[in-house]
Symmetry: C2
Subunit: 115 residues, 2 copies
């Protein structure tokens, strides 16, 4: 990172974080990468997120062309969510965050570790 940025807009990190810089957004992308595609599956695996918040995050991810919605049932309408190429390209960032967490933020529960 040799360049100096005069405004946040000049910095690709800041531009990225404008889109993905909150906890839930990257957890939703994580779950989509892990093959969860339906609203209820995402709601369950993204533990602690509320339905309204998940809806809002999926909408924002759609607006950012990171997620595409398709319908697997017409009656009643049931949607699936899939990552676009741009969304799948977040894999390396999520992997790096995974590896950092595994190394430097071990589980707190007694007697159980992830390693």
């Amino acid at each position: 990172m040799a360049r100096l940025y005069h405004t946040q807009q000049d910095c690709p990190v800041a531009r990225s974080l404008d889109i993905i810089g909150d906890r839930w957004t990257l957890l939703v992308v994580r779950d989509l990468l892990r093959g969860r595609h339906r609203f209820n599956d995402l709601l369950e695996s993204c533990e602690g997120i509320s339905p309204n918040l998940l809806s809002a995050r999926l909408k924002a991810l759609g607006d950012a062309a990171i997620v595409e919605r398709s319908f697997y049932s017409e009656h009643p309408p049931r949607a699936e969510y899939h990552l676009t190429e741009k969304g799948r390209a977040l894999g390396p960032a999520i992997r790096a965050i995974f590896e950092w967490g595994e190394r430097y933020e071990p589980r707190l529960e007694r007697g159980v570790t992830t390693r």
Copy 2:
């Protein structure tokens, strides 16, 4: 990412994002990686952050052992902030986010691009 996680606590991504999952925290780490170490330099380069928010983020990063504070002047007291090994280990994640932003979130201003 082959494992299934039953709780967020089981997932290293979620544990990491508990610490770094907001926009400003990673921007502060970015600037520390770029060699900004004094409060006012960080305030300036992390454009848009308020002094109170920067103080709070540096405190939280200290609590998480990502940042260490040292004093380069006693009278008046003046502090510098440096990344610990754990903090420097966020480099690959920030680099991945940088590369994603450079590729998929180009600058909005007319006639000027980062590539």
